[in-house]
């Protein structure tokens, strides 16, 4: 309870800072009133917070005490949240779209963006009047993800999500004798060194501290560096060598007890960012400013683990997540949809302003570069400029293995990994059962 409370307080403080900043930026709002509600579908309140703290103050709208958001032209926002557990968000969104319900914008994650991009339920971004030139400032890979089979862009992201390896400076000094991010990078530069470091941390701390919360965190990296997507053009399931490598790597971690066994997004996992049970974490842009800061148990250097984290590139360049805005087929207010998309995803000034306030990594290289040039540092990371590291990782991101089926297939794989690392199944059985589970979920897919 205390933890939840402190998390809420931390977020409130963050948002409080943000809204104080908001007074500094305004932009024109030139959208005629329609008298209809503007409906957005999402799985959490992150984007709602962005609208309330950045967009609405900048365009001169109002946020009532009861949370009602009104645009300057009098139109009201309806923000529908369906939490994402067990694919619930997709199920609710699919239902609404199939029933032709009025949705103007909806949010999609990397895991299943292609499912909507390749469907008739999303409209080309150009159809609301945003040109390809306007989107040219975005990172290449974010446009690639939102491009459908015919080469039409049907989604626009406000963030890029390159990932880094974060570690606790004080624990690294204590157990590894590491004094700088450069030295640390040397210790985790590839998976062999990373594994050796994991063993060293466990030994030196006598098991009190582990390098990583769980094997699931390693998968967040490995899944993006596979050589083939889960499903190829002929709808055949492909299990490549990286997947098999991951099964064995996870087994080593379990057998040698090298993780804290706190699975991603579990309560224990959130907690370990605020105590000394875990020394490192793979995370991407949004994960640092949104999840890690919230779980650090503080909001200024010296409080909790705030300020003790450092970032390095880690064993492999990867990305994790990212959110795309899509215009629904049943959108009735093109002008407002376009204005919101422009504000967060194509206009350098507003994106720079959002970036400075939130520490999110915006999807506009020019904005990010000007922030770095102005001298950027983040006190959560001990004053480190991690944006420069992100900019180094970004060109290496490869989204060719992304498929529409990722979320459900990844979770089916997770179950079999758990069998394998517990020693209850051998690799062949685990992989065969995994294939069977996938075919059961998606009858149109055939196993190899």
């Amino acid at each position: 309870m205390k933890k939840i409370l402190s998390l809420v307080l931390a977020l409130a403080l963050l948002l409080g800072c943000a809204s104080a900043l908001a007074e500094g930026f305004t932009t024109d709002f030139d959208v005629p009133a329609t008298g209809e509600k503007f409906v957005i579908y999402a799985w959490n309140d992150e984007f709602l917070g962005m609208l309330k703290n950045y967009y609405i103050p900048a365009v001169g709208g109002t946020v009532a005490d009861d949370g009602t958001v009104t645009f300057p032209n009098g139109d009201v926002l309806e923000f529908v949240i369906n939490p994402n557990d067990n694919g619930n968000y997709q199920a609710k969104l699919d239902q609404a779209l199939q029933n032709e319900q009025h949705i103007d914008l909806f949010l999609m994650e990397a895991d299943y963006a292609l499912k909507y991009v390749n469907s008739e339920y999303t409209r080309p971004i150009e159809s609301v009047g945003i040109t390809a030139e306007e989107m040219a400032g975005q990172y290449e890979y974010t446009r690639q993800v939102a491009t459908d089979e015919n080469g039409v862009i049907k989604g626009s992201s406000w963030q890029a999500a390159p990932g880094l390896f974060m570690y606790r400076a004080s624990l690294a000094k204590k157990y590894l004798g590491v004094n700088s991010p450069e030295e640390m990078q040397e210790k985790v530069k590839d998976w062999d060194s990373w594994l050796a470091t994991a063993r060293e941390v466990k030994e030196k701390s006598e098991g009190a501290t582990k390098l990583i919360p769980s094997n699931g965190d390693v998968w967040q990296v490995v899944r993006t560096v596979r050589s083939t997507p889960w499903v190829d053009e002929s709808l055949t399931l492909k299990i490549d060598d990286q997947v098999k490598w991951y099964f064995d790597f996870a087994k080593t971690l379990r057998e040698e007890n090298l993780t804290a066994e706190a699975n991603p997004w579990s309560e224990g996992w959130n907690a370990c960012m605020g105590n000394d049970s875990v020394m490192g974490l793979f995370f991407s842009t949004w994960g640092i400013q949104w999840t890690m800061v919230g779980n650090s148990g503080g909001s200024a250097p010296g409080e909790g683990t705030y300020g003790d984290w450092r970032a390095v590139k880690g064993p492999q360049p990867y990305y994790w997540g990212g959110t795309w805005l899509a215009v629904s087929k049943f959108c009735t207010n093109d002008a407002l949809a376009a204005d919101i998309i422009r504000f967060f995803t194509t206009e350098e000034d507003s994106m720079k302003y959002y970036c400075l306030g939130s520490k999110d990594y915006v999807n506009n290289d020019a904005a990010v570069k000007s922030i770095i040039d102005d001298g950027f540092s983040f006190d959560f990371l001990g004053g480190q400029d991690h944006y420069s590291l992100f900019r180094e990782v970004l060109p290496l991101i490869d989204v060719s293995t992304m498929s529409a089926y990722d979320q459900n297939i990844n979770s089916a794989m997770d179950t079999q990994v758990n069998y394998y690392i517990a020693g209850e199944k051998d690799l062949d059985t685990a992989l065969a059962d995994f294939a069977a589970a996938v075919v059961d979920l998606y009858p149109e897919i055939t196993a190899e």
């Binding site: 499912k115 339920y121 066994e261 224990g268 000394d276 459900n408 179950t415 059961d440 009858p443 897919i445």
Partner: protein
């Protein structure tokens, strides 16, 4: 006009006015049948229809069907890779096991409590309070109780593991060191049998009070003179229970068994809430209704196969109910009926 026609005319006038009166009655009960037809009968029929159709929305949002395919959906469900149990069979086994390990103790404890609460020889003090306490878990929603147990059996530092540590079952020294608790703590929610037992226990704990109250009502419905007569004849409390209470309770027992079976086969919320993401316990704790839900809401939306599982669930429940009716039938009464019939036949000869 003959007298006969006059009589029929009067009679028809009478029946018309009766019809006019009953017309209002029909009108008043119509809403129920209307609602029943829309929300129960139509979906029921539609499920049977869909079970024989190929109808799905694929992972890339493409709609296929509905096209009639005969028994293909059922065939697909029972097709499994060599040696493995088809998933549909597995989910029926899971549901059955979790129902049985909840039902047997539930029935025994409920019977015992019912016997104590209705015994005429001695009275338990504070009966009302005990009955309320026993019934209490049934008032809380199943989801909340599941969340509670989910937290109790958390890994590595849930209360269950803490208790095991303080009892010395797992190494206390290692356990208290937060970073390495994972070495010794027990992964309850990843162990199929542990989750099965937890789910069965929750079901037992929630429903034994309810069953007890039904049984108490059944026992109180038995003619007290029978008990008195037995007592006068010197029967012991146990004898009365076995020779009088249980046989006369048979219809109530049958009722509890069948309703519990139907409820048990549809078990959903408790096992669904106990699923940890990626847990390997899922294969052993997924119930039939959870599988129906998975087929429609996870991955490809396969309405055909999902409806086929629903039809199977209906058939299995029906068959088991009939079997229960057969086993629990009044053997004495049916034997007597047979003898009577035989005697009548003989008399005719």
């Amino acid at each position: 006009m003959s007298q006969a026609t006059q009589v029929t005319a009067r009679r028809s006038r009478l029946s018309r006015s009766r019809l006019e009166k009953t017309y209002w009655g029909y009108l008043f009960i119509a809403p129920f049948f209307l609602v029943y037809a829309i929300f129960q009968l139509y979906p029921l029929g539609n499920t049977f229809y869909l079970a024989f159709q190929k109808y799905m929305i694929t992972g890339t949002n493409k709609v296929i069907g509905p096209n009639p395919v005969g028994f293909n959906n059922f065939a697909a469900l029972f097709k499994a890779s060599s040696g493995a149990t088809p998933k549909v069979v597995q989910v029926f086994i899971n549901t059955g096991i979790m129902w049985i390990i909840n039902f047997i103790p539930q029935m025994l404890i409920a019977l015992l409590l019912a016997k104590w609460f209705t015994d005429t020889r001695f009275t338990i003090r504070g009966q009302g309070a005990i009955k309320v306490m026993v019934y209490m878990p049934n008032i809380i929603t199943a989801a909340s109780i599941s969340m509670l147990f989910y937290a109790l059996f958390a890994f590595p530092q849930g209360p269950a593991n803490s208790i095991l540590a303080s009892l010395g079952v797992i190494d206390k020294e290692i356990y208290l060191n937060s970073g390495i608790a994972a070495t010794v703590a027990f992964r309850f929610l990843e162990d199929g049998w542990a989750v099965r037992l937890i789910v069965a226990f929750i079901n037992f704990w929630m429903w034994y009070g309810n069953t007890m109250i039904v049984l108490v009502a059944g026992i109180l419905g038995v003619n007290p003179s029978l008990f008195e007569a037995a007592q006068v004849d010197g029967a012991s409390s146990n004898q009365i229970f076995h020779r009088i209470t249980i046989p006369l309770l048979r219809p109530i027992l049958l009722y509890t068994l069948v309703t519990s079976l139907i409820g048990g086969m549809q078990m959903y919320d408790i096992p669904a809430m106990m699923q940890q993401q990626g847990s390997k316990a899922k294969d052993m704790t997924q119930t039939v209704t959870m599988y129906i839900q998975e087929l429609v809401f996870e991955g490809t939306k396969d309405y055909g196969r999902s409806a086929a599982v629903s039809v199977l669930l209906f058939l299995v429940t029906a068959v088991f109910s009939v079997i229960l009716f057969y086993i629990m039938r009044d053997k004495e009464a049916s034997r007597q009926r047979k003898m009577m019939r035989a005697a009548r036949k003989e008399a005719k000869l």
